[in-house]
């Protein structure tokens, strides 16, 4: 007995000794902001990835020719002005002068040409960015501060695309000297912050770039920590060791953050839309009447209000209200279970008929939403089988090959906020996300708007596309989820960007 007592005492002592350093409340270095990222992109080269977690960092390290802030308006970036030719096939950019990269290399027209030749050449072919900029034929240097973009065909969304991702300008000398691989982990741009330390899978640390053309950022340091498990991110925020949990803060964490006097929720309409697309080839969803009945059976407003804590908006087409092509006049089908039952009976669907719903299992919010949909369908006599897939599998094998159940999750967060960027891939025949439908009317509309330079004419066509899709009930539109951030109140001047692309120039911490 004595032995045990002695041993236990020793163990307790040891445990306290280990815990001691942490007993003092976590003290923050002045001016250091800590932000969570759910995933490490692995490479910081703009042309290697297309991940929102890249952009949260990359948007601070790099600049594009144009800029788009939290207000979603395009503004001058590394180019001070630009003009487009009549036929839309040539854009001339006037470049900002006296701009330097973090390594001291000057920014000029040559850097722009190098950036886009690299993007459109062999190096770009290895990554996902190239295909987005295929409209560009070549970039010509006019003089040191002027470049011409010559296009194969007009691309109405191109200017927006130059504000981020693959359009970010990179330093030619640095890359030629150090090589592409070195650049992946030691990125250099012209942005307001420079990367000073990168620990793969752990963190990436930024410090302000004093010579930035927009002025020196106010923070002393920004640390991005990679934390995969959402509940761990929230725990770190509560423990005061993290200042911002970036979008998406799990809906279930909103009450936790709200009830903590040191924290707040920042929420703004974002681009993320969720829908359940129908399999129009097989099963009961072949029938348009049945599809409409299923849409009417589900109370999407209740899902938004009760389950998503109001952090979403109902949608009638597959886009957010911020998107170009959004039609406020288009209303979703109403929630009407009685009518739904009647339509189902009319279509000859017997109670107890089954639908399979395929979705991404890792998406905690959608996991609940899918169960709610299944619950509503059950109320009109339709049995649902929910099938969670790994993200890669459903995107790679199930949807493109047309191997889905009667319904499958389509989640989209197009950062360009242009309906074309979604609609073409979703509804044009032969596209990857459109395994079932081939509707000539939609194909024609989608093709026609691509060459239009008249904005209002193009907007009309995009709205028409939304109407045709709703009319044929190709999908059950669910909601447009807000971009939700958990933020410590010591963070000042943080404006939540709808597209997750943080720019931390003006942010300060107490």
């Amino acid at each position: 007995m004595q032995n045990l007592g002695r041993n236990l005492r020793a163990m307790l002592l040891a445990a306290t000794a280990m815990a001691a350093p942490a007993l003092a409340p976590a003290a923050f270095a002045a001016g250091t902001l800590t932000v969570t990222l759910v995933q490490d992109p692995g490479s910081w080269d703009p042309i290697d990835t297309f991940l929102v977690n890249w952009a949260k960092v990359g948007n601070n390290v790099f600049d594009g020719l144009v800029q788009r802030g939290p207000d979603m308006k395009l503004a001058p970036g590394l180019a001070t002005s630009w003009e487009q030719s009549e036929d839309g096939k040539r854009i001339r950019f006037k470049l900002r002068e006296n701009v330097k990269f973090h390594n001291g290399e000057p920014f000029d027209a040559e850097a722009v040409r190098f950036t886009f030749e690299r993007l459109l050449g062999a190096e770009g072919a290895k990554g996902p960015q190239q295909s987005n900029y295929n409209a560009i034929d070549k970039v010509e240097v006019v003089d040191a501060t002027t470049v011409d973009f010559l296009l194969k065909n007009p691309d109405p969304v191109l200017i927006t695309k130059l504000a981020g991702y693959g359009g970010m300008i990179v330093p030619p000398k640095y890359i030629q000297e150090k090589g592409d691989e070195y650049f992946n982990t030691h990125p250099v741009g012209t942005g307001p912050f420079k990367v000073v330390d990168y620990q793969p899978k752990v963190s990436v640390t930024l410090e302000p770039f004093a010579e930035h053309w927009g002025g020196k950022p106010k923070l002393d340091k920004v640390v991005f920590r990679f934390i995969a498990e959402p509940s761990t991110q929230v725990a770190e925020l509560q423990a005061g060791r993290v200042d911002i949990v970036t979008d998406p803060l799990p809906i279930s964490a909103i009450p936790i953050v709200n009830s903590d006097p040191r924290l707040k929720v920042e929420s703004i309409t974002g681009p993320t839309v969720q829908a359940l697309r129908f399999n129009t080839r097989t099963g009961i969803t072949k029938d348009e009447t049945v599809r409409k009945a299923l849409i009417m059976a589900v109370d999407r407003d209740a899902i938004i209000k009760q389950m998503l804590g109001g952090q979403a908006k109902p949608i009638a087409s597959f886009q957010s209200e911020l998107s170009f092509g959004y039609d406020p006049a288009l209303k979703p089908l109403p929630f009407d279970p009685a009518k739904a039952k009647q339509l189902l009976a009319q279509a000859g669907v017997k109670p107890g008929a089954a639908v399979q719903i395929d979705f991404r299992g890792s998406d905690a919010n959608f996991r609940e939403a899918a169960q709610a949909v299944a619950g509503y369908l059950q109320a009109v006599g339709i049995k649902s089988i929910l099938k969670p897939y790994e993200t890669n599998v459903i995107l790679n094998e199930i949807i493109p090959a047309g191997k889905t159940g009667e319904m499958f999750q389509q989640g989209w967060g197009g950062w360009t906020f242009d309906y074309d960027n979604t609609a073409y891939l979703m509804y044009h025949s032969g596209e990857k996300w459109n395994p079932y439908d081939n509707i000539p009317e939609l194909n024609a509309l989608l093709e026609s708007q691509r060459s239009m330079t008249d904005r209002s004419k193009r907007e009309k066509v995009l709205q028409e596309i939304g109407r045709v899709v709703a009319d044929k009930a190709l999908e059950m539109p669910l909601y447009n989820l807000n971009a939700v951030y958990g933020v410590s109140k010591r963070v000042k001047n943080f404006v939540a960007p709808p597209d997750s692309r943080l720019r931390l120039t003006d942010v300060t911490v107490d």
Binding site: D40, A125, G127, A239, L425
Partner: protein, 307 residues
């Protein structure tokens, strides 16, 4: 002894080879990394995908890819991650020490807790203390590990504010993950200590030691414990493999950037070189641990060599 050693080492090499082959083959069944690399991209064609595959060397036949990988392993080069081209060797060099630290700390914790508890139970065989310890150890085995981990975070980080919830930057970071795994390991080890102690205590030399008037503590901890060390060492050697596997969940909850996290992310991203590297290194470790146990055993007990 030499013959036994050579045979066991050859077997070990064979095992590691089969493991690498299995993993290389399975991960290639699981999906296409080219698609992962295009994630979020607007439109891309089959040609784009083929470009990416070619750049990654995935257009080669499986045998060529596998041989390249194995040649790399022999020369100590595990290749590069598909995502960013960081060398797999350097990723492992960062993750492995952390995983080993966590595994060994939990093991040490488990040994430190289970030996006194096990001995205490054995000495008080059949009494309330014995039953209590036995049932308590079973309770320790009845929790899912992630549940225990999250409960610890809620208690020690959020309610009490004593420990950091996650990461691996400061010494305090290791307390909760090691404790979570330690508790579960203790639960199994206590029973082992108790059983082998019971057998030892009835042995003649213990009676002799006692009759010589040695202090009970000396008898238990010096004479008896030494004798039940062998089954304990064996078991710990075997546990090591299970420990490494179970670490995935713990590493995820506590955001511990070890081998488990590395492997988990690699499967999700279809990052073949990383997964192959991690599994190969882990398999080497486990096989080495078992080999070591065998050798210790062979030294202690010559009969085993002939089996």
């Amino acid at each position: 002894m030499a013959g036994f050693l050579v045979k066991r080492i050859l077997q070990a090499v064979f095992v590691v080879l089969v493991v690498t082959l299995l993993v290389a083959w399975a991960i290639r069944l699981s999906g296409d990394p080219a698609i992962m690399l295009t994630q979020g991209a607007g439109s891309f064609t089959e040609q784009d995908l083929q470009n990416i595959r070619k750049a990654l060397g995935l257009d080669q036949p499986f045998t060529v890819q596998y041989l390249q990988f194995i040649t790399g392993v022999v020369t100590g080069d595990f290749g590069k991650s598909f995502f960013g081209g960081t060398s797999v060797g350097s990723l492992i060099a960062h993750a492995l020490p952390l995983t080993l630290l966590l595994a060994l700390t939990s093991l040490a914790l488990a040994v430190a807790m289970s030996i006194p508890l096990g001995i205490h139970a054995a000495v008080n065989r059949g009494k309330a203390a014995d039953t209590g310890i036995r049932i308590l150890s079973l309770v320790g085995l009845s929790f899912p590990n992630f549940w225990l981990a999250i409960m610890m975070v809620l208690t020690f980080s959020i309610t009490l504010g004593w420990l950091p919830p996650s990461g691996a930057e400061e010494p305090a970071n290791i307390v909760m993950p090691a404790l979570t795994m330690g508790v579960i390991l203790t639960a199994t080890n206590v029973r082992l200590v108790r059983t082998s102690m019971l057998e030892t205590l009835s042995a003649q030399y213990i009676m002799v030691a006692r009759s010589k008037g040695l202090k009970e503590r000396v008898v238990l901890y010096k004479h008896a414990l030494r004798n039940c060390a062998i089954p304990l060492i064996t078991y710990i050697g075997l546990q090591f493999g299970g420990l490494i596997g179970g670490i995935v969940v713990i590493e995820r909850v506590f955001n511990w950037p070890g081998m488990g996290s590395l492997a988990f992310d690699a499967v999700a991203a279809r990052d073949y070189p990383v997964l192959q590297g991690v599994i190969t290194v882990l398999a080497l470790l486990i096989v080495a641990a078992n080999l070591l146990v065998d050798i210790v055993y062979g030294l202690v007990d010559p009969r085993i060599r002939t089996e």
